[in-house]
Symmetry: D2
Subunit: 94 residues, 4 copies
């Protein structure tokens, strides 16, 4: 029995709008324009620099794909849940 | 009679949410946080680089003060009205 | 004989520091810090918004992977070569 | 005798490339282009969000004017010296 994995599944359940996939939380954000997408990217950059916890992410025009995990652990941790919630809050406030 | 000045006052009237002051359009934008203000700043930077028409602007924490004028003319032109409208649209869409 | 492909290979040869792979120009830029990488990302965003030609790109901490192609053509065009050269110039000037 | 002021003058001397003026450290940074200036602005934004210590600053095209002080103290503190040194290091590394 792998208690670690069930711990991480429990953790992932705390960010239900994200998908837990290959040891990371993933989510795609779609905007109207590149400008809107890049405004979001900049705010996530400020947040991740403040938390000293950075995403793996990609962008094509108006789409931003974010992948959160804790490299030193090889899987998600509390830090990823906090970052996921703060990113969600950023988009909801808009 | 200075027709030029009355022309510019007429022009300024097309951006009524801005103040026409010392040959420029001015407006202060106030946000909740530095992050929100800087997301806006980045989007205005993208827009002004695209239009090749850049603002004079300042920022203190959550406040952004923008001043628009056309340097080669020493006063406002159609370009400033277009930029003013696009900046307003950016904030309204939020 | 596929003249189109040989045309594109010829085009790709004009940006020799990039790799022509799956109908796109690809290059990885490595910086010292996330801050340095994100300063570069922001400048490429300004440039691509100005050219109205946007990259597919991803970032992990200090690494930026850029992929350039022209979506309407399904392959690279002159626009991608110009963007590739301008991105290279941006890093060289540093 | 105003020991506070002499303390702050001593503090200001630790950032000799900045001017101590009206209870703040001031410096003007001049770049080649708006793009280069805005890449710098973005990096200073990341740094100030990380330190939770934000500048008063303005930008006109390729020029960035930065003013550092600690609002709660109404004058400069160690935090401003640290931020000044890190901003200088950012430009020197270029």
């Amino acid at each position: 029995m792998n208690t670690t994995n069930s711990d991480q599944a429990k953790l992932a359940a705390e960010a239900p709008s994200w998908t837990y996939h290959e040891n990371a939380l993933e989510k795609i954000f779609v905007f109207q324009t590149f400008s809107e997408a890049f405004g979001f990217i900049t705010r996530v950059a400020l947040l991740s620099e403040r938390m000293d916890h950075h995403p793996e992410w990609s962008n094509i025009y108006n789409e931003v794909h974010i992948r959160l995990s804790t490299h030193t652990e090889g899987d998600i941790t509390d830090k990823d849940i906090v970052l996921a919630h703060r990113i969600d809050a950023m988009v909801e406030e808009v």
